[in-house]
């Protein structure tokens, strides 16, 4: 009963909000081309699908590729940095600068050097890179000190400690990094597309959104926004699914969550 209710309530709340939106637009008399109602947005989604869906594929593709590259790159760098305190110290200033700078601002710079597609990809990559690196570093260090001692007594090599102990210990951390990085790289891809403004076959969803705004096509702007939200949900769902699958073994034994 409470289970059913906890499922119905959020759906109901969303439905009410949509209803309020529709009625408010209707009653206020604001022109449809300025503030469309939910049905207009739905219509725009359907009629503009040939334009918007390929754009969605481009943006999602860029985001996922950037995320994958960031995971590989940051994971590898973390494994190198964790080998030596000195190396890590040397890397610190870069990490701090890149952490506190809104890195998406590099997009215009990248556009000077590369084509727009590469620039957007690189922006999304850089933005996802650091949270993943930070969580991976924390994860590699989170290994139980008692287990480190035991492995030392066994005469384990540095590589054996990394593979047997540190990498598995870092897994939950890496997955958290992936979830954070996923959300951020989507944002970065959107900002990158705004800055790049590339038209044609490579046009992403954010570019289509900007284009629709120039043309005062508000329903299409809304439709693009809805699709961006869908992209975000899909990304979150994907990273959560990966986490769930990867951590099944950890949760076996049913320790309460």
């Amino acid at each position: 009963m409470t289970r059913l209710l906890s499922l119905i309530v959020p759906v109901l709340a969303l439905g009410l909000a949509l209803l309020y939106w529709a009625v408010a637009v209707q009653l206020s008399g604001v022109p449809r081309y300025l503030v469309p109602g939910p049905l207009d947005v739905l219509m725009a989604l359907i009629t503009d699908a040939p334009v918007l869906l390929p754009a969605l594929a481009v943006t999602l593709g860029t985001t996922l590729l950037a995320l994958m590259l960031a995971l590989i790159g940051a994971g590898a760098l973390a494994m190198v940095l964790v080998q030596s305190r000195l190396l890590e110290r040397a890397f610190m200033p870069f990490a701090i600068i890149l952490q506190v700078t809104p890195v998406v601002a590099v997009a215009p710079l990248l556009l000077i050097y590369t084509d727009s597609r590469t620039a957007v990809l690189t922006t999304a990559f850089i933005v996802a890179f650091f949270p993943i690196l930070a969580t991976m570093l924390a994860g590699l260090r989170a290994a139980d000190p008692g287990l480190r001692d035991l492995m030392r007594l066994m005469g384990a090599s540095r590589l054996q400690v990394l593979i047997t102990l540190e990498l598995p210990s870092a897994l939950p951390f890496a997955l958290t990094g992936l979830r954070i990085g996923g959300g951020l790289s989507l944002i970065a891809a959107v900002v990158g597309e705004f800055a790049a403004g590339s038209a044609g076959r490579d046009a992403g969803l954010a570019y289509r959104l900007l284009e629709a705004q120039y043309r005062l096509n508000a329903p299409r702007v809304f439709a693009a926004l809805v699709l961006l939200a869908v992209a975000g949900i899909a990304l979150y769902g994907l990273t959560s699914l990966i986490s769930h699958l990867a951590l099944t073994r950890w949760r076996r034994g049913g320790s309460p969550r």
């Binding site: 066994m154 047997t164 073994r249 950890w250 076996r252 034994g253």
Partner: protein
Amino acid sequence: MVTQTPELPFTGLTLSGVAARYANGTEALRDLDLTVMPGERLVVVGPSGAGKSTLLRLMAGLMAPTSGTIRWGNATAPRPGSIGVVFQDPTLLPWRSALGNVALPLRVRGVPQRAAREAAYEGLRAMGIADFAHAVPAELSGGMRMRVALARALITGPDLLLFDEPFAALDEITRFRLNDDLLALAATARVSLVFVTHSIFESAYLASRVLVLSPRPGRIVDGLEFPPQDPAGPSFRTAEAFRLRTAAISTALTRAMGEGP
């Protein structure tokens, strides 16, 4: 890979004039002279902060003494696999089965997967938990986890087993059972035990020798030698000899508390 020194029979572990001071200035141990003889069961008792855990870390070769020397047999460093350690926490890899955890020390030495797992299975059987070989630590009770940790410590055939209050977190019935198993094991495996505990009863039951440490910095202030249990086994717990032992240890411990730095 690790280059192995030829295996010599274990001739004991010797600490001479050993002191340990941490980087923050804390003096944990002072002027320690001690030999752990082959086959003996040495129990170390002392107040909290007397440096008992530090002593075990020194014996394991996990930290170097600030001054003094430690010799493992004739060597200046322990041979990999010659020392087994069991901490208060079982410290198992949570993502590996009991079998995988016990096989780990062999896998690290390059023993093939199959042989390592077979040996690990035998180890688990000896501990009476072969039925749980494929369970991960989260699926095991505290006592079972401790048995897995014991099997892992034993699998390389160590000369010396070090215990840092291993059973402190367990209930008394489980602890009694593990104490009995440990004695049986020490009798058959020809291994020296060094056992740190807070429990006077545990020390009276396990020890062939008890060392009493003073409050920090820890020094040896008393040593008590005990003959074999009579009668041997669980019934020793209710014997008059056992009561006398606990009284002797208790008195020594009380005296040690008075020995300030």
